[in-house]
């Protein structure tokens, strides 16, 4: 069972502002029934460019309904200019947080808001103009890049949690990984979290990674009958192969992220991203 905050449960059981505003000034439709969640947001805007009313209709899980409900509460009385600045993180925070696998619900809320504002102002949504990367969930590269930038995402798994991209057939994983590399490389150092004093040559970095794997990671995995091999280091991307009991293990993803990546970030460079070789 998901661990939902009280706020999420409250907004799920007794959602606020359910429905559709008749003669709405802006309508935002996002998601689809195939994707498993969808949201229709309607807003009323007065002559002072203030949102006076907001209503929603949502098909989706508890966090999708709660995200929609809390969003409409936040919007009422908000200036349009401020509403434009709302991010998915603001929605998640208003709910006291969401399980990481459910972050895409807050992203859906934000996208519906953008769509509704675009409808009101008569502009075209920039995000929809991107190139579709994930066919399964219809996610564009621009949406992925923005999610990476705004939420400092560091892996394909996190991209999936936030945008759903890569959560279907998985064919786009390579492309997502590529977008991630390009986007992370473009980010200023303080966002990437690179510590200046740790600047080292590629060779030094690879050597250090090897050393930590041999000295610490391998012995720990071996205790559980597993093993690990370093396949490649490309920039900050470290590709490894999990062997023995780790191979095909259901928790190998957790091992990879919560243990291997954490160790390497602690001891080598905290912007390293560890991926499994497939």
């Amino acid at each position: 069972m998901w661990e939902y905050t009280e706020k999420v449960q409250e907004h799920f059981i007794n959602p606020k502002n359910v429905g559709e505003i008749e003669g709405a000034d802006g309508v935002g439709n996002v998601g689809s029934i195939a994707c498993g969640d969808a949201l229709r947001l309607t807003i009323k805007v007065d002559e002072n460019k203030v949102i006076t009313d907001a209503k929603f209709k949502t098909f989706g899980c508890a966090s999708a309904i709660a995200s929609s409900s809390v969003l409409t509460e936040m919007l009422k009385g908000m200036k349009l200019e401020e509403a434009k600045k709302l991010t998915n993180d603001d929605i998640a925070k208003a709910l006291g947080g969401l399980p990481k696998e459910k972050m895409h619900c807050s992203v859906m809320g934000r996208e519906a808001l953008e769509a509704a504002i675009a409808d009101y102002t008569g502009t075209i949504l920039p995000m929809a103009q991107g190139e579709i990367v994930c066919e399964c969930f219809g996610v564009t590269d621009l949406e992925v890049i923005r999610a990476i930038r705004e939420n400092q995402l560091k892996s394909v798994e996190e991209i999936t949690n936030y945008t759903k991209a890569g959560g279907g057939c998985g064919k786009c994983e390579k492309r997502l990984s590529q977008i991630l590399t390009e986007t992370v490389d473009d980010l200023p150092a303080q966002i990437k979290g690179v510590k200046k004093e740790k600047r080292m040559t590629s060779l030094e970095k690879i050597k250090k990674i090897e050393e930590v794997i041999e000295r610490e990671i391998k012995p720990t995995l071996k205790k559980d009958g597993g093993d690990i091999r370093l396949i490649d280091v490309d920039g900050n991307f470290v590709t490894v192969s999990l062997l023995g009991a780790c191979a095909g293990c259901h928790s190998s993803r957790t091992t990879l992220k919560d243990y291997v990546e954490k160790k390497l970030r602690e001891q080598v460079l905290d912007s390293l991203v560890v991926e499994e070789d497939r």
Partner: protein, 395 residues
């Protein structure tokens, strides 16, 4: 009417079951005073051996097997892995496995990753199912080749309860010299099973699905079936599965099998009637509700129903507010982003797959509980549909 608000109404018995009070009682001595190791050379340890012997007999009796054909394991999953990997080692020259698209993850994920586990390349045929979840036997027969080492097909589906004709399938496989395994964790204890004249080579049982504790399972290995152990170690289970016996749980499983044999008629009459009442009630009182799975070829306890245009996790959490426990095949309940592979294999449309709820009953359910659920569900669905953007245009 009893206070249903504080009592849990448990309709998730395909996920796990309560331990029967009689089972717990039978286990207690082996969790307290009789803690000996049956392999020991002293009579204190030796005192537990007859209990294991009796449990083995009780399990064999329930499924029409011989006690020597029963091997205790830790779970249904271990039994599945043991059977399939054993067959592959028995026939190293064969490189083909036949299974279905609707198997439990214990079989599905193993078959998906056989290359990793065995270090060899396997060709896997995953049989499609019909819209009602049944198999096309002709297509099954056509899929068998000289290269096929093993077929693994479940006896009854955990999500829909749909039953496969595994006895017939096993015969077809055996006729071509192919081993046959069935994951029967949902079938054993719910429908009569008689392996005495069957061609099934391997059959998996899980204790906690039939009111025994979690952490104990059985692999039935038909006499004469070539076998390579999965867990090597001591001489337990005649060298077929190492590891000191989980004595108390084995005793519990034996007791549970006795109880299941005694309740078999009740399961297929009273429980079936409760299920039918629940199902008919939901399908008639709630518009756009659909049954998933074949109406007849099905376990007596399972009803899988889709409520169109609403999402399963949201339904479950509202049910939870009323202390009703069930499951869903929706994407959101699994943590994955796609709905149940079983419903997708059946071609259930997305409008319905996301809103599927599985009610799985047991002999501990009462008619009063069914009435309560029938009285509660329409409001839940109506409330969620009122906020679904797809409802108005499709109702």
């Amino acid at each position: 009417m009893t206070d249903t608000t504080s009592k849990v109404i448990y309709m998730d018995n395909n996920a796990t079951t309560r331990i029967a009070p009689e089972v717990l009682e039978a286990m207690m001595p082996y969790l307290t005073d009789l803690y000996g190791n049956p392999s020991s050379m002293h009579s204190f340890g030796g005192r537990v051996a007859p209990a294991i012997h009796a449990a083995r007999q009780a399990i064999a009796d329930l499924i029409g097997a011989e006690p020597e054909e029963i091997v205790f394991t830790s779970s249904g999953t271990e039994s599945d892995s043991t059977a399939i990997l054993s067959a592959l080692q028995t026939y190293p020259e064969k490189n083909h496995v036949v299974t279905t698209r609707v198997e439990h993850p214990a079989v599905k994920n193993l078959c998906d990753n056989l290359d990793i586990f065995t270090g060899r390349k396997y060709h896997i045929t995953r049989l499609h199912v019909n819209g009602d979840g049944t198999l096309d036997l002709q297509k099954y027969q056509d899929s068998l080749t000289d290269e096929t080492a093993i077929v693994s097909a479940m006896w009854a589906n955990n999500e829909t309860g749909v039953i496969f004709p595994v006895e017939e399938m096993a015969q077809m496989a055996n006729d071509r010299g192919i081993l046959f395994h069935t994951d029967a964790v949902q079938a054993v204890g719910k429908i009569p099973i008689d392996l005495s004249s069957s061609a099934i080579n391997f059959l998996s049982i899980s204790g906690h699905k039939l009111h025994a504790p979690k952490g104990v399972g059985v692999l039935y290995i038909r006499k004469g079936t070539p076998f390579v152990p999965f867990l090597n170690g001591g001489h337990q289970e005649h060298g077929r599965r190492g590891g000191t016996e989980n004595v108390a749980s084995i005793v519990g499983l034996g007791k549970a099998c006795q109880l299941a044999a005694a309740a078999m008629t009740e399961e297929n009459t009273r429980v079936r009637a409760l299920r039918d009442k629940l199902e008919t009630g939901l399908l008639t009182t709630i518009p756009k509700a659909l049954l998933n799975g074949h109406k007849e070829l099905r376990l007596p306890n399972t009803a899988n129903i889709s409520f169109e245009y609403v999402e399963g996790e949201a339904i479950l959490l509202h049910m939870n507010q009323h202390n009703i426990c069930a499951s869903s095949g929706s994407a959101c309940t699994s943590g994955s982003l796609e709905p149940s592979h079983v419903l997708r294999a059946m071609g259930v449309p997305f409008t319905a797959a996301h809103g599927s709820i599985r009610y799985s009953l047991s002999i501990y359910n009462s008619e009063e509980e069914i009435d309560y659920v029938l009285a509660t569900m329409p409001d839940i669905i109506a409330k969620l549909r009122a906020m679904s953007p797809f409802w108005e245009e499709n109702s």
